[in-house]
């Protein structure tokens, strides 16, 4: 039971880390596009 909980928690933490990394990468790409005049 405790191992199950730990495993679920670890997966949730990894998912959150991936989302945050994707969010940072997204902002980086948006900045590139805006600076190169591709934005509105």
């Amino acid at each position: 039971m405790a191992r199950d909980q730990d495993s679920r928690r670890r997966i949730k933490n990894i998912a959150l880390a991936l989302i945050l990394a994707a969010f940072a990468a997204l902002f980086y790409l948006i900045t590139i596009v805006k600076m190169s005049g591709g934005g509105t």
């Binding site: 039971m1 909980q5 997966i11 949730k12 997204l26 596009v33």
Partner: protein, 307 residues
């Protein structure tokens, strides 16, 4: 609200049984697909060019905003969701996610989607997105849903905003054309949900949600469905009338609308739940058909194939 949350307070061990998948389900992915599709149509139909990455970001923001509104709705309605067959498997109804966790998750996503839309696209689109979330949460979920049988008539506006958000992401303003798209979804929503509620009438009655079949009866609901499907015929022609779409679209819209009216007429004679469910399913095909036709029509116009 606070009392409701306390009443739903769960054993921490049970609440910790949540998985990543539960958080995904909290976003109501089925609803999200229709929202994303209509928003994509708004993006595509709007005049102007947008970098593909920014288009993708706009769609992502709209999808996340829709999911956020869904998560907050799940949090607020956890008490009735657990008593309805259609919703009893939702993570907040089963107790896999606590309502206050769902609320925090939803509010965080809502803030992030509006902020990113504003920073990456423009603040008009961000304002439309914020209005969409606020309308769904405050007007529909908290105010109308449990008070009036007109809940989905007025609350349906929340589901009609995405094409406006998509359009505004490209143009930075809101003109008559996206309002026509809004009106199509707004008029389509009541017969769509009433057809479903005819099938799930006992569920709504049990939890005290005053859907039209519960309050006014099935026959009145069937008459309302027919009236709205008839009203949808001229409303669906607005894009053609405003010059957004060609005559090809108008013909397709009339054909799709005639199909919807046919189902509504059949429903008023054949009072089985099976026909109600078939009408509900056709309503989804209808909306996908209308927006797909609008998109294809714009492509045909660009190639000089439409008139």
């Amino acid at each position: 609200m606070h009392d409701r949350l306390i009443a739903l307070e769960l054993d921490p061990a049970v609440a910790d049984a949540s998985e990543v998948r539960d958080y995904w389900l909290l976003l109501k992915p089925n609803v999200m697909s229709l929202v994303v599709f209509s928003a994509a149509a708004g993006l595509y139909l709007a005049p102007g060019n947008l970098h593909p990455l920014l288009m993708a970001v706009a769609l992502l923001c709209i999808a996340v905003a829709a999911g956020a509104a869904g998560a907050i709705n799940n949090s607020y309605d956890a008490d009735i969701d657990r008593m309805m067959a259609r919703t009893r498997r939702r993570p907040t109804a089963t107790g896999r996610i606590r309502p206050d966790d769902a609320l925090a998750f939803g509010v965080t996503l809502a803030c992030m989607s509006v902020m990113v839309m504003g920073l990456a696209l423009n603040w008009v689109a961000a304002a439309v997105l914020a209005l969409t979330i606020a309308f769904y949460v405050f007007v529909y979920t908290m105010w109308l849903k449990r008070r009036t049988p007109q809940n989905i008539v007025i609350g349906g506006a929340a589901g009609a905003f995405p094409p406006i958000a998509g359009w505004a992401a490209v143009t930075g303003d809101v003109s008559l054309a996206p309002i026509a798209l809004f009106l199509i979804i707004f008029t389509w929503t009541p017969p769509h949900f009433w057809a479903l509620s005819l099938d799930r009438c006992e569920d709504y009655a049990r939890v005290g949600v005053p859907m039209l079949p519960v309050v006014a009866g099935a026959d009145t609901t069937r008459r309302h469905i027919l009236a709205y499907t008839l009203a949808l015929l001229p409303v669906s022609l607005l894009p053609w009338w405003l010059g957004l779409a060609s005559g090809l679209y108008a013909l397709a819209a009339l054909a799709l609308g005639a199909g919807f009216v046919r189902f509504a007429l059949k429903l008023s004679r054949d009072r089985t739940k099976r026909t109600a469910l078939r009408t509900f399913r056709y309503s989804i095909v209808y909306l996908f058909g209308i927006f797909l036709t609008l998109v294809l029509d714009k492509g045909a116009q660009a190639w000089g194939l439409a008139w």
